[in-house]
Symmetry: C2
Subunit: 229 residues, 2 copies
Amino acid sequence: EIVEAVGAQLGTGPLAGRHVIVTSGPTHEPIDPVRYLANRSSGAQGTALAQALVRLGARVTFVTGPARAARPVGCTVVEVETAIQMQDAVTAALPADAAIFAAAVADWRMQAETGSKIKKQAGGAPPSLDLTENPDILKGIAGLESGRPQLVVGFAAETDDVVAHATAKRARKGCDWIVANDVRPETGIMGGTDNAVTLITEDGAEDWPLMSKRDVARRLADRIAKALG
Amino acid sequence: EIVEAVGAQLGTGPLAGRHVIVTSGPTHEPIDPVRYLANRSSGAQGTALAQALVRLGARVTFVTGPARAARPVGCTVVEVETAIQMQDAVTAALPADAAIFAAAVADWRMQAETGSKIKKQAGGAPPSLDLTENPDILKGIAGLESGRPQLVVGFAAETDDVVAHATAKRARKGCDWIVANDVRPETGIMGGTDNAVTLITEDGAEDWPLMSKRDVARRLADRIAKALG
């Protein structure tokens, strides 16, 4: 890993001189001072991808939510908690040649976070959690009029109709590629070490065989290097 | 730690021959296959307490939610995720001489967990999260007609009026003691290494000075040993 970092500093490899932003991990959206909304993203795939990009010589800004995975080496690491903080960090990291959105950003946050812990009322009804939509970071960056990264890649965690949902997501977000995976609990992908992805590009859907997240990362990094030419 | 475990097996110490159940950590309540409700409990205080009880010779059943803290040594460890699983594990561990409920159990869970990931609808309203109350494990055990542990201790994480809220909680739950702490973010207690607790007993409120969670655990374990005689 030290060798990788030095390689990047020396500007060797097919991505030398390129800046890539990678987001990773879950976001946590506070409900009150002790409770929050979360998701099961471990950050493993995003971390492996950042590491693979460093290996190819890229300068990587790694924007991560509170993930279990150890942080990648040789990147600029920006730690955030919420979707809004992640959006701010991505925007601050521009310009970039590519932006890869591997984080599992919460779709919703609380309309208003309460400063005091919500108390359980004896005999009372449970509180209603009034949600509001989080900013769509992928769509925002993909739709930039000026300063759009040359390559914008989203991830899609699906539990059914993976290709159809992911193809629709690519069109809706205006991004170049979608890396889709099937996160039904029985696949063991979310939180696991292996991944079976489908890469959606303008040419259609490409099923990759089940392989380790590290191998998915290397293959994807190679594709990114080719796309950036 | 090996010495502690052996000490417990040899039946030495003031709690030799006693069985204590300790719950610890957060619970996670699933929303759908990828999202869940969580809280910021690290499990540090419950883990330290279990370890201190082992040191005094107790046989400890440690029922823990998905906590960051390393598991205590020399205990029977039962890993759970949800409040209902925690209740089942505690019930299965009875009979016990004492039960210490240090876990931050979620007050609410989803009325119905969906088997598919909830999709964001373009232009649609955010989903409403319909909650229902979780079982009250502390109250259930404290109110047992037969087989109630001799000493039942609850924890209270409060953000305001700590003594008033915790004293009311002691009466409402029917437990013997409440260990109350102030979890306002500015105290740094939730997730931190120190703790400032107020012990609520039938004799009133006793403020303990700020000390490490390990020292809180030792002092509390000593008190438990005295209470069990």
